[in-house]
Structures are given as structure tokens and as C-alpha cells.
Amino acid sequence: MPAEAGAELPNFPFKDAGHQRESALFGMWIFLATEVLFFGGMFMAYIVYRYLHGQAFQEAGAHQEWYLGFLNTAVLLTSGFTMALAVDFARQGQRNWLLVLFGVTWLLGAAFLGIEGYEYYDKFVQHLVPGTGFRFTGSDPSASEMFFVLYFTMTGLHMFHMFVGLMLILLFGGWSWVSPSFLLKPNRFEVLGLYWAFVDIVWVFLYPLFYLVHPR
């Protein structure tokens, strides 16, 4: 292998673009593994408390608007579809399609946050926010409060991840709008796509845990 000035090479410290792409994706998968463990701590808490306070959790779950959760699932999964298309267009270097699909994904993500925000507001009105204002009638109101603690913490952290994703879409979208050469490394978009898919999948687990607990 010839001696060459390393750091000036576009793919440093990798051999070529393909090598860099597989390394970047591999790194992202490892990051997603840490994210699984990060959410895993809370899912563990949910499992333990659901086991300890099953009845109270069902009663609390009855106060959840299932159709809002359903709507949000639909919105988010659709955004996952548009994101996957966007990544594919980025790979083909079709900047206009990429920007359109990023726009659609961004709007769907924002809609998700809006619906979730409305739900938070609704909980506030119904005195279902844990803390001093919490009012609940049921077999074990304090254990039902735990349900809402979990609801706000887990969906809150999920929304934080959504927010980060929306910021990244803005950043990547803006960057490719300003300088088309940003598309020369499509692995950036693939990594973002993986992140977005992960956030989708977390919601797929949150939806049944918080909206479908109450038997109808």
C-alpha cells in the first residue's frame, strides 16, 4: 500500500467509501444497542410494577384515549415509511425527492408531537398528572399514579428522542439544500434512518403498554 497523506483523504481513517459506510452503520447499530438498554431500564420498571399492581394499572389504563394512541401509531409508522424512501433517494442522489420526503417526515413527526402534547394537556385537565394535583378514584389510587408516572416518563423520553430526530432532519435537510455535496456520503442518511426506525419501534412497544392495558 503506498504512503499517502492520511487525514486529508475523504474517507480517513477508512480505505474507501464502502469501508466507511459499513463502519458507520455498524457504529450506529451499537449505539442503538445502548438505546435499547437505556429504554430497557424503564421497561423493566414497567414490568415489575405492572406485576405488582395489575388491577390499578388496568383502571388507570381506562383513562387513556386509545384512538389517540392508534392515530399516533399510524402517523409515526407512516413517517417511518417516508423516512425509508428519503434514505433511498439520498442513496440515489436525488436531492429534490429527498427534501420533499424529509419535509413530509418532519411534518408527520411534528404531528405526532402535537397529538402527544394534546394528550398531556388532557391529562392535566383531568388531574391525572402525578404530583399534588393528582385525583383518581379506584381500588388503589396511588398505584394508579405510578401508571401515570411511567406514562409520562417513558413517553416523555420517547418524545425527547423524536425531538432530536426532528432537529437532525432539519440539519441534514438544510445542509443538503445548501450544499449538494452533502449527499456524496449517503451513509449519513442511512444512519439517521436507522435512528428514526428505532424511535418508531420504541413507540410500537409503548402503544400497547399504555393504551391497550384496559380490557375492552
Binding site: 451499537i30 424503564m42 399514579e145
Partner: protein, 552 residues
């Protein structure tokens, strides 16, 4: 070691003189420079943690607790624990020696993600700022374990600031671990197969798996504590049916593997040192590799042994006890393999080997007492006593810090291009060994007699041994202070080392010292297994070639 008469020189262009401004250091992507940034930062944090330890030992010389109030004492041991665990021990070997050596050892020009590497240092420092702020503003008195409900409800300290600091620090660990894993998978030089990796790389790889899989659990756990403290209601709150024990489970799910984050890289360093100074290939390379991975794996299954007296199910306790015993197997494999490597080796007692031998002795004591603690009945007797304190200091100081210093000495010629004063270094190693034992061995006896940890007022019959323990302190301090002085001096004025002062076969010794910015002008091609120390043939069987095994 063999002193070749040839003249050595510092290469005109090396990583140290490529840019001399502060900005060139703060924005560097060079893994070697980032390692030095880490070196300076963790030495600073080590100093802070040590001051707290000194104050505690002075307080303990008399049984009535005359210098500090109980709250101040609580804050001191919390500070000591938090700073030493997260801001010194965990980053020590991986982020300084690992960062410097990992790419060189596998024949790469840098880490897979150089900018992420720099980011991890900034994240580390940012977390450190939060921790320091919480100390300056008034400190935290929960102990480094942050047990709920005390930390979430009753403590008056700056728990949230400290938790945020550790949370941020955790991401530095995650980034480092991620970077190491991808680097080892993707950037090995041609011919550098998995079983040609130096053992230090294997232990860094195992450590990285723990970084990546355990640290996020700590992050979420501390987030939950901080949220509970901030909002006055939360997941560990018993008032609404929460279980404070769940905190302990989640905390130790991280913090027990974290112990292996500290000791595994140390074991890797020791493997390098033992082979280099007995001039033999390491005995049972494959077994040491599997032992490293085994320790990383088993480490995830033993967290419950911190909770034997917490009221967890007795059956859980029995299983955790058994699994904890299993950890002794890979650990013992390593110790036996090191001693077998020494056997009939051409041993030369340079300072790094003295540190390595100290490691083996102290780690064995720490490990054996660990077995005592893994047995349910003994553990109930000594839980929350100085026996525990002595045990984990034997592992973490006697183990991890000894290996860290040994590694710093061994690779010092590579890092700085110059030699340290050998005789002074030998004395420093011996002083540290004596001082450490004087300080910590009495604590085993104290603990077994029943002196509880985390109290500064104690019955008078414990005073003698406490004074003995404090007497170890000046020696221990000297043992740390000497290397700080002479290494600092030799980095500027020491004898020029040349590329390979130890006549070692590792890739890092085949390039100039200090190395050039991108390590290798040409990526090397590796054709041999590591530790090829050309030993004389009658003590070392030549490796069977493939044709020979086919012929058989």
C-alpha cells in the same frame, strides 16, 4: 533490557510537535493527543479524589470524629467515591492507554471515528464540570451509590447536579466503547486476525462491550432519580407503590459490570508487561482471551451479590452467590497463566514488572476476599464493614491503579520518546506496594472485627488499627507523587529512548517514539501471533504449522 549502543533521536516530525498551539490540542482528532488530554484531566480528578481520602484518613485517626461533622464526612466519602470511580478509574486505562495504543496495536492510523473520540473527551469534561460544581456548591452526602429513597427524597445535597454530571460522563464512556468496538472490527491491519490481537486489545474490546451495554442502564437510573427528586414523585417512590429496591437492582446492573470496566483493561496491561519482562510468549493466549470475554459476560449476571442483605429472595441470593463464584474461574485462569508465563522466563525486574507483580499479589488477595464476600453467610457478617472497603480497594487500587502505573511506565518511552529514571521508578513501585498494604490490610481486620464503613465515630478499640492504616498514607502519597515528578521531568529531559527500548515485538514498538501523526506511513502487514519474543527453543515448543498437523 538490551541496551543497543546505537544513537537514538527524537523524530523530527511526531504527534507532539505537529502544531504547538493550545487550539491545535483542543481541536485535535489524533487519538494520541486525545489520550494525553485524558491523561491530564484524570490526573487532576485523581488529585481531588485523593485529597478527600487524605482528609478522611486523618479524621479516622481518632475515634470521636473531632475534625469534621458527620455531614461533612458523608460528603467527603461521596466525593471520593464519585470522583475516583467515574472520573478516574473508569476512564484511566481505556481512555489514556487504550486511546493511545489501540489503533497502533492493531495497525490502524486512528480510531474509526476520530471526531467522536474528541467529542467523548469534551463530554467527559462537561460532566466533570457538573460534578465539580455540585462539590463546590455544597456537595452530596448520599454515598457514590445514590440509594433511594434517601437520594431521591431526603438528602439535602446537590444530588441532581451530581447525577447530571455522571449521566453526561456516561455518554463519554459509551462513545469510547462504541469507537473501540468499531475500530477493532473494521480497522485491523491486513493479517491482524482476531487471534493475533495483543491481549490488551482483547481486554479493551471486552471492556467496550460493558461500556456499551451497561452504561445506558446507569444513565436511565440516574435520570429517574433526578426526575423523582425534581418533581417530587417518581418511579422509586414507595408512597405510590414504587420499590426503592428496584433502584438497587438497576444501579448494580451497571455498577457491578463497572468493576470489570476497571479491572479488565488492567488485566490486559498486565498480560503485556508480564510477557515483555519475562521475554516469553504469554502462556495460554486463547484461554486469556476467552477469560476476558467470560468475565465481561458473567459480570452482567452477578449484580445481586451487592444486595444479599437487602431483602431480595433467598433463592435469588443463592443463584447470585453461585454465579459470583463462577467469576473466580476466568480470573484465576489469568493469574495462573501469568505465573506460568513467568516460569522459566528471562525475568528482568524493571519498574513495570514490579508494578505487574504487585498487581498479581494484590489482585489475588482482593479476589480471594471477593470469594469470601460471594458466600452468603460471610457476606451477611461483613456487609457494610471495612472488610468490603479493603476488598474493593485491593481490586481497584491494588489492581487497577497498579496496572495503570505499570502501563504508564512501560509505554512512557513510546508516549514521550524518552526514558524514565529506572532506579527511582523501582523505588516508587516498592514504596507504593508497602504503603498500599499498610493502608489497606488493617482494614480487613477492622472490618472482620465489625467496624462499619461510612462512620467517622467508632469504638475506641478500633483506634490502633485505624492509626496503622493512616500511617500507610504518607507512603502511598509518596508512591504517587514520585512518578508524577520524575515522569514529568523525564518527558522533557529524560534520556532519548529510541523506537523499541524494551526490544518488544508489538506493532507499537515498530514505529518511532514518539509516533508520527498517523502512526504508520504504510499500513503494516501482520504475519505472526503476538508476543513473539524469540525465546530459546528448549523452553518453548515451536508452533505446529498447518502442514505438520495435516501430516499427523
Amino acid at each position: 533490557m538490551t541496551q543497543t549502543p546505537e544513537m537514538h533521536f527524537i523524530p523530527r516530525e511526531n504527534y507532539l510537535n505537529q502544531g504547538k498551539t493550545l487550539v491545535s490540542w483542543l481541536f485535535t482528532h489524533d487519538h494520541k493527543r486525545i489520550a494525553l488530554l485524558y491523561l491530564i484531566s484524570i490526573t487532576f480528578f485523581f488529585l481531588i479524589g485523593s485529597i478527600a481520602a487524605v482528609l478522611m484518613r486523618i479524621e479516622l485517626t481518632n475515634p470521636h470524629g473531632e475534625f469534621f461533622t458527620s455531614t461533612t464526612y458523608n460528603k467527603l466519602f461521596t466525593l471520593h467515591g464519585v470522583i475516583m470511580v467515574w472520573f478516574f478509574l473508569i476512564p484511566s486505562i481505556p481512555n489514556v492507554l487504550g486511546n493511545f495504543l489501540l489503533p497502533i496495536m492493531i495497525g490502524a492510523r486512528d480510531m474509526a471515528f476520530p471526531r467522536l473520540n474528541l467529542l467523548s473527551w469534551y463530554v467527559f469534561m462537561f460532566g466533570g464540570l457538573f460534578a465539580l460544581a455540585s462539590i463546590i456548591l455544597g456537595g452530596v452526602d448520599t454515598g457514590w451509590t445514590f440509594y433511594t429513597p434517601y437520594s431521591s427524597t431526603y438528602s439535602n445535597g446537590w444530588v441532581i447536579a451530581m447525577a447530571v454530571g455522571i449521566f453526561i460522563n456516561g455518554f463519554s464512556s459509551i462513545f469510547t466503547g462504541l469507537n473501540f468496538i468499531v475500530t477493532v472490527h473494521k480497522l485491523r491491519a491486513p493479517g491482524m486476525t482476531w487471534f493475533r490481537l495483543p491481549l490488551f486489545v482483547w481486554t479493551l474490546y471486552s471492556t467496550s462491550l460493558i461500556f456499551v451495554l451497561a452504561t445506558p442502564v446507569l444513565a436511565i437510573t440516574l435520570t429517574l432519580v433526578a426526575l423523582e427528586r425534581g418533581f417530587g414523585v417518581g418511579i422509586f417512590d414507595p408512597r405510590i407503590g414504587g420499590d426503592p429496591l428496584l433502584f438497587q437492582h438497576l444501579f448494580w446492573f451497571y455498577s457491578h459490570p463497572a468493576v470489570y470496566i476497571m479491572i479488565l483493561p488492567a488485566m490486559g496491561v498486565i498480560s503485556e508487561l508480564i510477557a515483555a519482562f519475562s521475554r516469553k510468549p504469554i502462556f495460554g493466549y486463547d484461554f486469556i482471551v476467552y477469560a476476558s470475554l467470560g468475565i465481561a459476560f458473567l459480570g452482567f449476571l452477578v449484580w445481586g451479590h451487592h444486595m444479599f442483605v437487602s431483602g431480595q429472595s433467598i433463592y435469588a441470593g443463592m443463584i447470585f452467590s453461585l454465579l459470583s463464584f463462577f467469576v473466580a474461574v476466568p480470573s484465576a485462569i489469568k493469574v495462573f497463566n501469568w505465573t506460568a508465563t513467568l516460569y522459566k522466563g528471562h525475568i528482568s525486574f524493571e519498574a513495570p514488572l514490579l508494578y505487574a507483580l504487585s498487581f498479581i499479589a494484590l489482585f489475588t488477595i482482593g479476589g480471594m476476599t471477593g470469594l469470601m464476600l460471594a458466600s452468603l453467610a460471610v457476606d451477611v457478617h461483613v456487609t457494610q464493614t471495612y472488610f468490603i472497603v479493603a476488598h474493593f480497594h485491593y481490586i481497584m487500587v491494588g489492581g487497577a491503579v497498579m496496572a495503570y502505573l505499570g502501563g504508564i511506565h512501560y509505554w512512557f518511552p513510546k508516549i514521550s520518546g524518552r526514558m524514565y529514571p529506572e532506579n527511582l521508578a523501582r523505588w516508587a513501585a516498592v514504596i507504593l506496594f508497602v504503603g498500599f498494604n499498610l493502608a489497606f490490610f488493617p482494614q480487613f481486620i477492622l472490618g472482620y472485627m465489625g467496624m462499619p464503613r461510612r462512620y467517622h465515630v467508632y469504638p475506641e478499640e478500633f483506634q490502633f488499627l485505624n492509626i496503622v492504616s493512616t500511617c500507610g498514607l504518607p507512603l502511598l502519597g509518596l508512591g504517587y507523587f514520585l512518578p508524577l515528578c520524575y515522569l514529568g521531568w523525564s518527558a522533557l529531559f529524560g534520556r532519548i529512548a529510541g523506537p523499541n527500548p524494551w526490544d518488544a515485538p508489538g506493532l507499537e514498538w515498530q514505529i518511532p517514539s514518539p509516533p508520527p501523526s498517523e502512526n504508520f506511513p504504510c499500513i503494516p502487514v501482520v504475519t505472526r501471533r503476538p508476543y513473539d519474543y524469540g525465546t530459546n527453543p528448549d523452553t518453548h515448543e515451536p508452533e505446529e504449522t498447518e502442514e505438520e498437523s495435516h501430516a499427523r
